[in-house]
Subunit: 191 residues, 2 copies
């Protein structure tokens, strides 16, 4: 039963909808910039950690001789590659608007991989930290004289891995927030 | 400008609202049962892991002599106490309806603590696993003869810690979902 009143109402609603969707879009865009920032930081730290681990050796040993440090290297290399891919996807989204994969698939992919890789890189960081502590405490002579710089570089590679984990954990929060907003309301960032 | 049509419309909306809020309530209740289940499992496994670590000793050594195992014990004890408290809070919510703390505070508290404790207990589990592996590989005689049962019990305590982590991670997903739903829509479980 159409009437002028209803039509007027409809127009107002259309304006409201447009306003809501504009605000929503701006917030999605801001969240995307934040995610891109977290991924950039996570990429940088993980790559640095992997490079430090790979290149560290003293005359008597290389850091990759130890299982825990090999795990640290592998986890950080994986996270660096993953973050690089995600930086590409986030840039695509910021430039083009829609997500690279279909929206729902992309949101699930982002959050699940973020979560799993955050656990992986945290575990590798702890294993690396335990190994550096053990080498310092129980095998004193390693860290003296020539070995001093080896031990310091090993500490740095572990610390860089934790920094990468921190930013990946922040990215997990942001992508989890996006995913649940989408599931609950059908939009990645409701008003 | 009230009219019969509008009134009728309003009544239908009221019925719809009531229906939506009933369905919503049932879903919140189901999510609460799921959370209670995860917390019960996480409590059981963490407590078992802490007790196993505490009680494990061979004639020549106790498991708590090692820093990594002390970390494993502390993290699992903390998670067991936390899970016990959360089981109380979840039961209260299921019986009484509203949350124990004010709703928003409770949701933030749940998710943030779940997330942090999940990272903590995962880190401790990895440190414990690295230590059991090291004792087995580099100090062969520990795990032979009398030490055999010591090493097996150490493995079990680490495995129980990981099982506790798994259920805490599931609880984190559920409490994170609740929190973001609440932030995005104002209800812990929108239709």
């Amino acid at each position: 039963m159409p009437s002028p009143l209803r039509n007027g109402n409809g127009t107002r609603n259309r304006h409201l909808d447009l306003f809501v969707s504009t605000v929503s879009e701006r917030k999605i865009r801001r969240l995307n910039y934040l995610l891109l920032l977290f991924r950039l930081a996570s990429f940088s730290f993980s790559l640095a950690s992997a490079v430090f681990t790979l290149s560290n050796s003293s005359p008597s040993r290389s850091q990759l001789d130890f299982l825990s440090f090999r795990l640290l290297f592998a986890a950080n290399a994986i996270v660096a590659v993953y973050s690089l891919f995600q930086m590409g996807a986030a840039s695509w989204e910021i430039i083009k608007g829609p997500t690279l994969l279909p929206e729902s698939a992309q949101l699930w992919f982002d959050f699940s991989h973020d979560q799993v890789f955050a656990y992986l890189v945290l575990g590798a960081g702890v294993a690396g930290a335990a190994e550096t502590g053990r080498q310092r405490l129980t095998q004193g002579p390693i860290c003296q004289g020539d070995g001093e710089s080896y031990c310091i570089q090993a500490d740095i590679s572990v610390a860089l891995g934790f920094a990468g984990f921190l930013f990946l954990a922040l990215a997990t929060l942001a992508s989890g927030f996006r995913l649940v907003c989408f599931l609950a309301t059908g939009s990645r960032f409701p008003m």
